[in-house]
């Protein structure tokens, strides 16, 4: 027998989108409404983040960070935790570029409105430029290389407080320095009266009834709810389970037939980790790993370059080949300069989230020639930056186009699948995240993106979730009254 619960508003997922929506909806608690967040992952204490790469990847990421696309040529990284992927993100904080907003062309998504909301989250999350003394050499070499080539290079604002430079942001911050939703928005939501259930995986929606299971994994804090099955009645549902799981949940709830674009136009800015060896150790694993980016080629050539520094297994997997040459690079990790090359991929209907005949989530994604060529071109520029920065051997041949299945291509900027637009023929939601044809259902996460962000996306996700929450607040009286009447 499933336990029963009832709320006026339920947010599913607590990441960049869900955490923001929960906080913005917590104002409704003051009006006597019951708001809850259901999160599939556990809550962690700072001390749980051990820095052990495999252990943390296994706990924090879906599929250990290695969810494969259907053709198995790319891995997708997204987290499950109280705070979602903001627990593992690097905290680089940029608003959507104007050019991308123009490309999106969503009627009703006003530029000024988006800019204002992005600024709100840049401010609230303590986004700032790190002091020069905290930039490690891996980062400074990138800047120096770009500058000597005459390339435009910018410093990332990062959302840190009291960062001690442990450098393993993507395995969870042991100092609580990164200002993810678990540190900023969610505590505020709870303080305002929002209820939560962690370790609570939503299986499907049956109308406004949510079917969920609370589990008790071996790690993290236990759920606030007893393990078992739940039937949760909701007046309004806000989906924020991320670009893979929100469309999957909707498909599992039988919404695919009236929403032909559901799951489609999934984009993820496929990336490659590129590295080159210096003759001497450079400081690379101390300090914040990601300080600079070069977006000069985003509009012209479809790629973006960022600094990065990864852990041994991830690095080993990403460097090409094997044997002595590979081992030589891996034995000198302290001499490695690293650059992340990201292709700005096109939104194509055939790249999509769907369910297989067993109801399991599948991501169909083809690394098409254009995307691969962008990665190849990015590696050419990266090689020039490495050389200009004084590196010796680059581990990836300059300009070589990656070969799917042979070369490691990963993605952490997952977007789309419930794109905004005007009608069900071209999109899944309107410009305020309301699902076409289902008045009580809203989306507040990265799945709203109609195409790639062209930059690191979380600030834009928060801005969009903020909009969704506003619309829910405005419509709540009407929608909840309608529920009462229907009952």
């Amino acid at each position: 027998m499933a336990e029963e619960r009832e709320f006026d508003v339920v947010v599913i997922g607590s990441g960049a989108g869900g955490g923001t929506a929960a906080r913005e909806l917590s104002a409704l608690c003051g009006q006597g409404l019951k708001v809850a967040v259901l999160e599939a992952g556990p809550e962690y204490r700072d001390a749980d983040f051990t820095g052990n790469e495999l252990e943390m990847a296994g706990r924090l990421y879906f599929g250990g960070g290695g969810i494969l696309t259907q053709d198995k040529t790319m891995t997708l990284a997204f987290a499950r935790a109280w705070g979602g992927s903001t627990v593992v993100y690097t905290g680089t904080s940029l608003p959507l570029p104007l050019q991308r907003w123009k490309r999106w062309g969503v009627p009703g998504l006003d530029w000024e409105d988006l800019r204002r909301r992005s600024a709100k989250y840049l401010n609230e999350n303590n986004c700032h430029l790190l002091d020069e003394s905290l930039l490690n050499e891996n980062n400074r070499l990138f800047r120096a290389g770009c500058r000597s080539l005459g390339l435009r290079v910018e410093q990332f604002p990062v959302n840190l407080k009291d960062c001690r430079g442990g450098g393993r942001c993507n395995l969870g911050c042991g100092h609580g320095a990164k200002q993810g939703t678990h540190r900023v928005q969610l505590p505020q939501a709870l303080a305002a009266g929002v209820e939560r259930a962690t370790n609570c995986r939503v299986e499907r929606l049956e109308g406004r009834v949510i079917h969920a299971v609370v589990e008790s994994p071996k790690y993290g804090l236990p759920s606030q709810w007893r393990p078992g099955r739940y039937r949760i009645k909701a007046g309004i549902v806000v989906l924020a389970a991320g670009a893979v799981n929100t469309p999957a949940l909707m498909l599992r709830s039988g919404m695919g037939s009236c929403l032909p674009m559901l799951g489609r136009r999934f984009t993820c800015q496929p990336s490659m980790i590129l590295a080159a060896l210096h003759e001497r150790p450079i400081s690379n694993y101390w300090g914040h790993p990601k300080s600079f980016y070069c977006d000069q080629f985003v509009e012209s050539d479809g790629f973006l370059l960022e600094t990065c520094m990864y852990f041994p297994f991830t690095t080993a997997k990403s460097l090409p080949g094997f044997g002595d040459e590979h081992a030589d690079a891996m034995s000198r990790m302290d001499t490695l300069q690293m650059i992340l090359a990201l292709a700005i991929d096109d939104a194509r209907p055939e790249n999509r989230v769907r369910l297989d005949p067993h109801g399991e989530t599948v991501v169909d994604y083809t690394l098409d020639e254009a995307t691969l060529a962008r990665l190849g071109a990015a590696s050419g520029v990266a090689a020039q930056i490495f050389a200009a920065a004084g590196a010796g051997r680059a581990c990836w041949p300059a300009g070589q186009i990656p070969r799917p299945g042979r070369d490691t291509i990963t993605a952490a900027h997952l977007m789309g699948g419930c794109g905004m637009g005007t009608t069900a023929a071209d999109s899944v939601t309107d410009a305020w995240g309301r699902v076409h044809g289902i008045p009580w259902l809203f989306v507040a996460d990265a799945s709203l993106f109609p195409s790639a962000a062209g930059i690191n996306p979380y600030i834009t996700i928060m801005a969009l979730a903020d909009r969704t929450a506003q619309r829910v607040r405005e419509l709540a009286p009407e929608l909840l009254a309608a529920r009462g009447a229907a009952a």
Partner: protein
């Protein structure tokens, strides 16, 4: 019983693969080899059932496919011949074979590069107070 359940060849094949893919394993002491196998076994056990089956199948094929061409099981071949086979698979025209090789390569890498106890050998020594190190 093999390290990987249901895989009859077990350690011999994994060791042979490790020596070619991640040559520094040659310097591992017996207890580090035990850890190597343990990490691989743990990683393998956490894979979805279907992927485990595919890995087992691929390793089985890899071990035996060399018999007609090179006259011996993979783990008994000379290192040069092993490298030749691995390079052939790595860049094979069939995407499925490339992917299978990529997966096994990653699995072997977990056993060595995924062991924090060996990170110092790779010149990787992060500390919680990295900023203090930066500021000297």
């Amino acid at each position: 019983m093999g390290v990987i359940q249901g895989l009859p060849c077990g350690r011999a094949l994994l060791r042979a693969l490790a020596l070619r893919l991640a040559p520094p394993v040659v310097k591992l002491d017996p207890s580090s080899w035990e850890e190597f196998y343990a990490i691989i076994a743990r990683t393998f056990s956490e894979l979805p059932a279907r992927v485990r089956w595919q890995v087992r199948l691929f390793l089985f094929v890899l071990r035996w496919m060399t018999l007609p061409l090179h006259g011996g099981l993979f783990d008994l071949l000379a290192p040069k011949d092993q490298d030749e086979v691995l390079h052939w698979l790595e860049d094979h025209p069939w995407r499925l074979l490339r992917i299978a090789f990529w997966g096994v390569r990653a699995l072997i890498f977990t056993g060595y590069y995924g062991n924090p106890g060996l990170w110092h050998k790779m010149g990787y020594a992060p500390v919680p107070e990295g900023n203090r190190m930066l500021r000297g």
